[in-house]
């Protein structure tokens, strides 16, 4: 093949990879309410940013490997059955060391932000966080506020599948399941944690903008799994207080 033909192939391979990268980057243009690329909470933002830190080098590596593969297949293509048998190279120890050590260094480097992210997301919530209990069962969600007691001595709880929270304050979540394993996931605000029967898992998250954020059970739990949806409604602090007052007023008299 003429050199320009070879170059064309190479360019096409690279262009395809660039297109893919743009597609990923432009994801939020296509996204809906559960788009992890359009985060509205600090946890989801950290998760997206860390993903991008790895995504770009991964795309570069992919481009290099695919371009190399396409180039090799074109450049060393057998033109005729009379072509000579090529030199029988068995290996090259220096190359082996290079392509073992370089990726290893890159990968070990990545472990640092990963462990830091694990610790940051796994820490206890701030002192002034709002405490919430999330209780999952087949096939709906119960949200309880251990710090807020209704006039008749019960914890404030909602069973309509809407978790009301204030913005700009950390929410300290304790999760459990009543029957099988479920998973609490609000993609725009934070990654998921499983609600496991017999244990209490915890996570923290926040919302930085008022709005309604879609959530969905993310651990297969049986026939109603697809419908086990919920949402998180984030209010300004005043509006949240107003909502709480409304709930407490509306509680039945003892």
């Amino acid at each position: 093949m003429r050199p320009s033909g070879r170059l064309l192939r190479l360019a096409l391979a690279l262009a395809a990879m660039v297109a893919l990268a743009l597609l990923f980057a432009g994801c939020n243009a296509f996204g809906g309410d559960q788009n992890t690329f359009a985060p509205e909470g600090d946890v989801a933002k950290q998760q997206r940013d860390l993903f991008l830190v790895v995504l770009w080098p991964a795309i570069v590596v992919l481009c290099i490997v695919v371009a190399a593969l396409v180039y090799i297949l074109v450049r060393y293509r057998r033109r005729s059955e009379d072509d000579p048998i090529p030199e029988q190279i068995h290996g090259n120890t220096r190359l082996e060391l290079a392509w073992t050590i370089a990726p290893a260094a890159l990968l070990i480097g990545i472990t640092v932000p990963v462990v830091m992210g694990i610790i940051e997301l796994g820490r206890d919530a701030d002192e002034d966080a709002l405490q919430v209990h999330v209780i999952a069962q087949r096939f709906n969600w119960i949200f309880e506020y251990p710090e807020i007691t209704t006039p008749d001595g019960e914890l404030l709880r909602t069973t309509d599948g809407v978790l009301h929270i204030p913005i700009d304050r950390e929410i300290a979540v304790d999760l459990t399941g009543l029957d099988v394993i479920h998973s609490f996931w609000v993609p725009k605000l934070a990654g998921k944690q499983d609600a496991v029967p017999g244990r209490t898992n915890s996570m923290w998250f926040n919302a930085t903008r008022p709005g309604v954020y879609a959530g969905q059970c993310a651990e297969f739990c049986g026939i109603g799994h697809s419908d086990m949806k919920f949402s998180v409604e984030a209010h300004t602090e005043e509006e949240f207080q107003a909502w709480v007052d409304e709930q407490l007023e509306g509680a039945p008299a003892p």
């Binding site: 995504l55 057998r78 090529p86 290996g91 082996e96 462990v115 940051e120 099988v180 990654g191 915890s202």
Partner: protein
């Protein structure tokens, strides 16, 4: 005298059985397949059966994709959907990729190492029949109906707990009916098949290599078989224990996973994934072995860095035991555990990268023939690179909290299992087809098959990466409008049908090819390893004389010597000729293992016992008797007639 019929005495049972064995030994007729202990025939049985299950799993996938093409589906209801995706995953992992790998182990290992057969030929046959009977048992569950009704009312009896069967969902209080029992018992039976195979091939490779074939002169595929066999031997017991615990909970009021009685749901996950992660390397290492055989032949150069490719395979096998909890990052194990498994998972990418670079090094500077097997191998390299990189993305633990249980994971594992394992296995079929059938598959149809499958695969699964990042969870039967998922799902469904069309092309290719004359030469590709030195198809005894191995790629060195510059020149005529020494040799004097029907009889036992657990303990006794009867017959049968 005319009109008088001469009565022939009816043969006794013993005489009939001897006739059957005689017929089987002659390689003619149905008995020669039922009673075969020849690794080449068992390989064909495995391959054809696995391909049938591939079609079944593929149809299940097409129904799933039809359901998900549009928001709010309307093709199947959630109950049917759950059973279909459970069977799709279980079928593809246990009834397709593992047995296709077993097919290649069977067909290739003995003739790559210069042996007559495997170490335990009847155990080999037993492995196959147990696989068939376990696979049929599990598939039969579709027809048993469920507590909601019979099959005629559209109620499927297949298991619906996902291929990973998480407790407590799979406990009897949440999964009524017999579906999960069929699943657990079926997997136990398939585990027996795999264990037997693991031991058989490990022993064969360690003990039966031709003189001069040291471990580092073995073809790389044989190395991968050895490593995979050890992984099977150590991994299967783990899931066996987990399945026993699940069955105890379901059938005998055990409390391993029952929280109310102090059980631990996460125990199931730990055990399943401690098996499950080595399992995925069991699925991919044979495919990597196939790629490592195809690339050198089609570039006319040796595998670059052979010792490094061997060691990276061994390293992957060892490291695979230390990463299992990366499937459990969101279960609340804590920051220390998540960090430890995050680091170990990131590190397992290193040996994988080494293989990819060595494959590129093999192609570099070669004389590359772009025939169908090479295309599949090249496709593997590209697709597995993507799969491996998305695996690294999953190991970024905080981001995995978003990715876990979404279509991003579905995209990742299909990338490595379809774009990886299946492409490699198809490449292997095209490569070795002439060796075992004496016919070359059509190159034009092969190219059509490859491009259809490759493009179809990408159209199906790349949109799933987008879907995962757009927040679409796994295992949902339908989704709402307005989430931005519709278009990507539709594209994925179109891709799935492209794949189906490419599989049809493959079937047409095989059918048309089998109608042609078997006239392929022993070495149509000018290859490097011993199997190409015997006729196509090989005689029952494989090698007329035991080969004396002097080097890695010994067959290549019989054909070419290297000048002092390293350039190969063909050996002057009079050297070893491929297949020549077998002409005229009629096989007399070569002792072969006798055919036997006892492995089949014994293999029926476990499935009947399984039915006993599900329906009536009387069947347990019947199945046990069949199994014992089969084993006794096996142990006591005369060796040869």
């Amino acid at each position: 005298m005319a009109g008088v019929a001469i009565e022939r005495p009816t043969p006794t049972l013993a005489e009939s059985l001897r006739l059957i064995r005689g017929q089987a030994a002659s390689y003619r007729g149905i008995w020669s397949w039922i009673a075969t202990v020849d690794h080449k025939r068992i390989g064909v049985l495995y391959g054809v059966t696995a391909f049938m299950f591939f079609l079944m799993g593929g149809i299940e996938a097409l129904v799933l994709r039809l359901q998900l093409a549009n928001p709010n589906g309307g093709i199947v209801d959630p109950d049917q959907f759950n059973r279909l995706f459970t069977m799709h995953g279980t079928t593809m992992v246990f009834l397709v990729v593992m047995p296709l790998s077993a097919a290649f182990f069977n067909l290739l290992v003995p003739i790559m190492i210069g042996a007559r057969d495997v170490a335990f030929p009847r155990l080999n046959a037993f492995s196959y029949w147990v696989f068939l009977s376990g696979g049929l048992l599990m598939s039969a569950s579709f027809f048993t109906g469920n507590p909601g009704g019979t099959i005629f009312e559209g109620r499927l009896g297949a298991p619906d707990g996902g291929w990973f069967g998480y407790a407590p969902l799979t406990l009897d209080q949440f999964s009524q009916g017999t579906g999960i029992d069929y699943w657990a018992l079926g997997l136990l039976i398939l585990g027996v098949s795999s264990m037997a195979g693991g031991f058989n091939f490990a022993v064969t490779i360690i003990n039966m290599r031709a003189p001069g074939m040291t471990l580092f002169r073995m073809p790389l595929f044989v190395w991968m078989t050895l490593v995979t066999s050890f992984l099977i031997i150590f991994a299967m017991p783990v899931i066996t224990v987990a399945l026993f615990q699940l069955l105890f909970d379901r059938l005998f009021s055990g409390n391993f996973f029952n929280v109310a009685a102090g059980g631990t749901p996460l125990l199931w996950q730990h055990m399943f994934w401690l098996f499950g992660h080595p399992e995925v390397y069991i699925l991919i290492l044979p495919a990597m072995g196939i790629v490592s055989e195809i690339l050198p032949t089609f570039s006319r150069k040796p595998l670059f860095g052979y010792p490094f490719v061997v060691f990276s395979g061994v390293a992957i096998a060892f490291m695979s035991w230390g990463v299992w909890a990366h499937h459990m990052y969101t279960t609340g194990l804590g920051s220390i555990a998540n960090s430890a498994f995050g680091i170990s998972t990131i590190l397992i990418a290193i040996p994988t990268g080494i293989k990819i670079f060595n494959w590129l090094g093999t192609l570099w500077g070669g004389s590359i023939s772009l025939r169908t097997p090479l295309l599949f191998a090249a496709g593997f390299i590209a697709m597995f690179t993507i799969g491996g990189l998305t695996g690294v993305m999953h190991s970024i633990v905080p981001s995995d909290y978003q990715q876990q249980d979404t279509y991003f994971v579905v995209a990742h594992f299909h990338q490595v299992l379809f774009g990886g394992a299946i492409l490699a296995l198809f490449g292997g079929i095209y490569y070795w087809f002439p060796k075992f059938t004496g016919r070359m598959l059509s190159e034009r149809l092969g190219q059509l098959n490859f491009w259809g499958m490759f493009i179809g695969f990408n159209v199906t699964f790349q949109p799933m990466m987008v879907l995962g990042l757009l927040g679409m969870p796994r295992r949902i039967a339908s989704y709402d409008e307005g989430l931005g998922w519709g278009i990507w799902n539709m594209i994925a469904t179109v891709g799935a049908f492209m794949i189906a069309a490419s599989v049809l092309v493959f079937i047409v290719n095989v059918v048309l090819t089998m109608r042609r004359q078997a006239d392929a030469s022993a070495d149509p590709w000018n290859a490097r390893t011993l199997e190409w030195s015997i006729p196509s198809p090989p005689p029952p005894y494989n090698f007329a004389e035991v080969p004396q191995v002097k080097a890695l790629d010994d067959f290549w060195h019989q054909k070419y010597v290297e000048t002092e510059h390293g350039s190969p020149v063909p050996v002057v005529a009079g050297g070893a000729e491929a297949g020549g020494e077998d002409e005229g040799h009629d096989g007399h004097g070569i002792h072969l293992p006798s055919p036997s029907y006892w492995p089949l009889i014994a293999a029926l036992g476990p499935s009947v016992m399984a039915l006993g657990f599900i329906y009536d303990y009387a069947l347990l006794g019947v199945g046990a008797v069949i199994l014992l009867f089969g084993i006794f017959g096996w142990a006591l049968e005369p060796e040869a007639e």
